[in-house]
């Protein structure tokens, strides 16, 4: 049991990162992660996760996120004050800055299923097979979602030859 708790703990940073990217709100994201952890811990006695603990946790997190989406769609969206669009934005200091804000908005505008898939593969570096398992979809569906997400980002994000930013290693 202690091993499982350690394994879960090792996944917390990734869960927070993914939740933050999905929700764009640090508090909402951490609440989501807490719910996810509580659910996982409460179930661990009854339900031994088969396969990697990470996939199990991400599945729980995504289910909670989707339930929350459904609920907020019924309630009407709430927007944290710091997320309110504040126009005009301060002029970009570097060429990359503006592009980042733009791509963040583009990601936010993606349909949820495309956003979930893209972030899982790109941000979390999850393999196609694992991502398809977490999302509960066939791998072909996953790939078409990724492809559509990339195309949408390209249209919104522009196609300038200029890199968004210097690649940081």
């Amino acid at each position: 049991m202690g091993d499982l708790i350690a394994e879960i703990e090792a996944c917390v940073p990734a869960l927070r990162r993914y939740a933050r990217a999905l929700t764009r709100n640090a508090d909402v994201a951490d609440d989501l992660v807490q719910d996810c952890l509580e659910r996982a811990l409460a179930r661990r006695g009854l339900f031994r996760p088969q396969g990697p603990v990470r996939a199990w946790l991400f599945t729980i997190l995504l289910n909670l996120y989707r339930n929350g989406l459904r609920a907020s769609r019924r309630r009407g969206e709430t927007v944290a004050i710091e997320d309110m669009p504040s126009e005009p934005m301060t002029p970009a200091a570097q060429p990359g800055h503006m592009a980042l804000a733009e791509i963040a908005r583009a990601i936010e505008a993606l349909p949820p299923d495309q956003k979930e898939a893209l972030l899982l593969v790109v941000l979390e570096g999850v393999s196609y097979a694992e991502a398809a398992g977490i999302l509960g979809i066939p791998q072909g569906t996953l790939m078409s979602r990724l492809s559509r997400a990339r195309a949408a980002l390209r249209i919104i994000g522009g196609t300038s030859g200029e890199p968004y930013l210097r690649t940081v290693k």
Binding site: I5, E9, V12, A21, E38, L41, L123, R150, R154, Y164
Partner: protein
Amino acid sequence: MTTVGPISRETLLAYADGQLSAAEAETVEAYLAANPEAAAEVALWRRQDDAIRTLFSPAAAEPVPLRLKPARLAAELKMRNRGRWRLAAAAVVLLGLGLGAGWLARPLFERAPAASEMLIASAVNAHRVFSAENRHAVEVASDEEEHLVTWLSNRLETPIGAPDLSPEGFALKGGRLLPGEPQAGGRAAQLMYEDAAGERVTVYITAALPDRKPAYEFTSRDGAAAFYWANEAITCTVVGTLPGERMKAVSQAVYRQLTGGGGIGAGIAGDYLENG
């Protein structure tokens, strides 16, 4: 430079997402070197990836708040569960107290069963017990009918007679004295009749109830049919397991003979037996 055949968009995507093996990736890289358009596309995806990571990776590097520590959450969960057990235990204790109090307070809520119910129950019970007996079905046999009737009348302090059910095919087998509740007519006499097939019918008689009011009831209980009536002189319950019509005929015969075959009460009960 080696020419490479066309590579699917899926493969390009998989390459950009780092999903290909080293050998596969090499093939794609050779293709990209020869196809600047595809290379530009992949480069664009790579920049998208960089942007996404730059935007969101920092969240993973932040110190994890205490409330997201699994060990701590697990401990809290255990506490909460313990609390839940305590609640459940308290609920069980309360339920027990409630049941106990309810049991003790039973006499306050319980309606005393009607005398007719008690009499019918006793009559059916006695029928079941003694009609199953062979050698000891009766206490006094019918060859001492006169003694039987006198004895029972004395014990019940009420004159009774043994109805003649021979037109219905039943002969008196005998009778016995049974204890009874004082508020429900006191002691009881049971007369037993038997037909040629060994089918038995019993007639359960007590002195009149304190209210001496007429009453009629035809009911079935534990698989036996019972016709009960009460008047100012006696209560009588005819019990048997005969088919409906025959049971009715026997009951009518008993009723007629024990009520003298007439009077207002006879009329009502007669109608009751005709229609009910």
